[in-house]
Symmetry: C2
Amino acid sequence: MERPAAEMEESWIANADSWIRTVRAGGIASRRLVTDAAVVEAVAARSPRRALDLGCGEGWLARALAARGVEVAGIDGSAPLIEAARRAGGGSFVVLGYDELAADPAGAAARMGSDHDVVVANFALLHEDVAPLLRALRHLIAPGGALIVQTVHPASVPAPYRDGWRVEGFRGFGEGSGEDEASAWAPMPWFFRTLGSWLTLLRSSGYRLEDLREPLHPETALPLSLLLTASPEQP
Amino acid sequence: MERPAAEMEESWIANADSWIRTVRAGGIASRRLVTDAAVVEAVAARSPRRALDLGCGEGWLARALAARGVEVAGIDGSAPLIEAARRAGGGSFVVLGYDELAADPAGAAARMGSDHDVVVANFALLHEDVAPLLRALRHLIAPGGALIVQTVHPASVPAPYRDGWRVEGFRGFGEGSGEDEASAWAPMPWFFRTLGSWLTLLRSSGYRLEDLREPLHPETALPLSLLLTASPEQP
């Protein structure tokens, strides 16, 4: 594994407690204002019976979907986050790394099911080499099902507008939560992708783009996220 | 026709002389540095025998393609621009408004030919109701051919990030050309479209996106344009 990818995965273990407190307190304004509702709506619009929450973290999205009657399985590489998700309930949660899933799609399908109407990744595709994972996920999607990806809007990130690793310092996360912000977080490397690269990634991984939405900040009217719905191409 | 669309079309008659002088002097930095070469390369990459230059203006792109052995026809709604294109040569140039083309695709195909390997619109889709034009253009594209659109990159325009009419004042155009800038130009209304709206427009007009490029400014590393290649869907 590349060094930044390993650091990124470690950050989700190191930051687990801060993350759980922040997310559950609504401490990330863009999520509270816009992107949480946007991804729930995008999934719900497909009226799924079963959904797989990829990189589910502490499980808020799984719980939101379960509250709408969806049967949800969540996977994440961070054991402490999965532990927190299990305690909160709402779905079945499994520690499963992306590399493991990508290396053995048939095994993952046997374990998690191959009949998910939606696989959803909410700000959860943060590494560089995502194509093997996306190709593997096709084994877990039911016929007629879809992959839904919410991610950072490429226009919302400072130049250079080029694919590459960036670092999230979590400044401003958890404002008002009483958290000692600066000291509480390990920086997280994440891989920035241009719009063109996102579309190329989907195509080269065997998906066809069905829908692209750009939820806006209600005050600045700037796009807060890119919300992609794609269906596996017929082989 | 809507008022801003009419004003926009009128601006291309009122501004014809300023536009011709500016474009021919290389007075628009983004074009000189990046986007001119990007659109020529995108068209040439398909090795077309025949191309239709939609909104050809004074004809620079037609001449650049003709120099590469492409047989080019250019159409534009502005008579003075077509007159300038004819004088400079390099292709066959016809005054033809978009509304006229959209209203009678069969007539346009009879007049211009139905066997264009590429129809290219370089910063030339500036009105709101573009779908009828794009649907009509399918009659002019040869089997296996493509529509290539270069347009303003949505991320390069100030908020709000919402479809709507904007006004180009041509400030900074023709810098260094000795032009009296402020007085020489009539403002041009143009319709801003988000990325999602561009993709929806293509899909709803009967095209499938084949390629999306985002040429960058060499110094700021910000995207200067959106360069879309789309092919007519099989009916």
